[in-house]
Symmetry: C2
Subunit: 195 residues, 2 copies
DNA sequence: ATCACTTCTTGATCCGGATCAAGGAAACGC
DNA sequence: GCGTTTCCTTGATCCGGATCAAGAAGTGAT
């Protein structure tokens, strides 16, 4: 079996079991998509045509506000799902952008394939329901964290939660994720060394 | 028809059409639940046993962090859905609390009723999918807003978006929603008067 | 009407992030 | 190797929110 599909299956099974027959139906539906470093799957104003499973690489999902200020909503690495569901289903332009921070390989579903997958593979549908719920809860936690903790605490938690990302992602992107300027992050790190 | 059910139907149809027959199946499933002011539907550590449609009243959905600091994730008024989906489905204790800020009337689904509704009423299932997507997107926007805008801007946007809530909800709850102290909100409002 | 409690405001001080500016370090091109 | 660009750090100043404290205004109970 193609290793990308094998990893997709392992990823699904980590959440919800799927039979051989079901996975055989599923595997034909997404297509392998390669992205170069810096490339966008979609940008502010585009319609997000795909929902994709990240097989290799690392991406950032971000927005700019009216003043051009940029904030990163999440980083996606191996095993994450990416896409703008709202735009994907409504066919309306998205306010968000998705950019590869490294060369990436994705298993990408277009709308027809994704709907077919949900209809013909019940375990996949169930899997997605669980995933969405968790994503929703995770997002709530992030909102809460943004409101309650100091940038320093957020940095500590980020390091603890995603130690490997620290080595893959430039600090100014991490600052944009934490909601502060690169200068502020630099000072936080400097303060920390003493301890 | 009972006016609470009529409003539920109107609310669903605002998003997705539902036939008479389908709504007849649906209407029997939730039960009317009354809450007094200050009462909780669930609290941190409880399991959220219901997902409910707010027919009357106003509630707040909030969390406390380790230091006891409280932040409100959303206010729910007539037409909103409330509940902690993660806890509702996983049967795990929730980290969040849901409290009535006024006497409330809810149409509440327990897990069995909710699953039955989704299985037997396809339009309802479709309706919920759309709702969840919007809720997810709305939550992302809130996270982004929390990270990019100043408390003063957030206050302005809140007033513009929820003008009626300003009259129903004490300011210290609005401060908790905006992520600031009541003192800071008071000063923001004082600054604003001049303009 | 009075008392208690809740809610909101104001004052003073402290602290940390934003901003503007500049310099150092590392990566990458040719 | 050299030079350029990218990335990170450091400095100085400003500003606004947090905190502690006190008081005012509004609300409800008896």
């Amino acid at each position: 079996m193609d290793p990308a599909h094998a990893r997709l299956r392992a990823h699904i099974e980590a959440t919800h079991p799927i039979s051989d027959a079901e996975f055989d139906t599923l595997r034909a539906l997404p297509s392998l998509m390669r992205m170069k470093k810096g490339e966008h799957l979609f940008q502010q104003g585009d319609i997000s045509k795909y929902v994709a499973h990240v097989d290799k690489g690392c991406l950032r999902y971000y927005t700019n506000n009216a003043d051009g200020l940029e904030r990163i909503l999440y980083f996606a690495v191996e095993g994450w799902w990416v896409g703008d569901l709202e735009s994907f289903y409504s066919n309306e332009p998205t306010a968000n952008s998705l950019q590869a921070l490294e060369p990436c390989e994705l298993l990408a579903f277009n709308l027809a394939a994704f709907e077919q997958a949900k209809e013909t593979v019940p375990s996949f549908r169930k899997f997605l329901e669980i995933k969405w719920r968790r994503a929703y809860t995770g997002n709530q936690e992030r909102t809460f964290q943004a409101m309650t903790s100091t940038p320093e605490e957020r940095y500590e938690q980020f390091v603890k939660k995603y130690p490997t990302l620290m080595e893959r992602i430039p600090l100014y992107h991490i600052a944009a994720y934490l909601g502060i300027t690169p200068e502020a992050l630099s000072r936080i790190r400097a303060r920390r060394v003493g301890r």
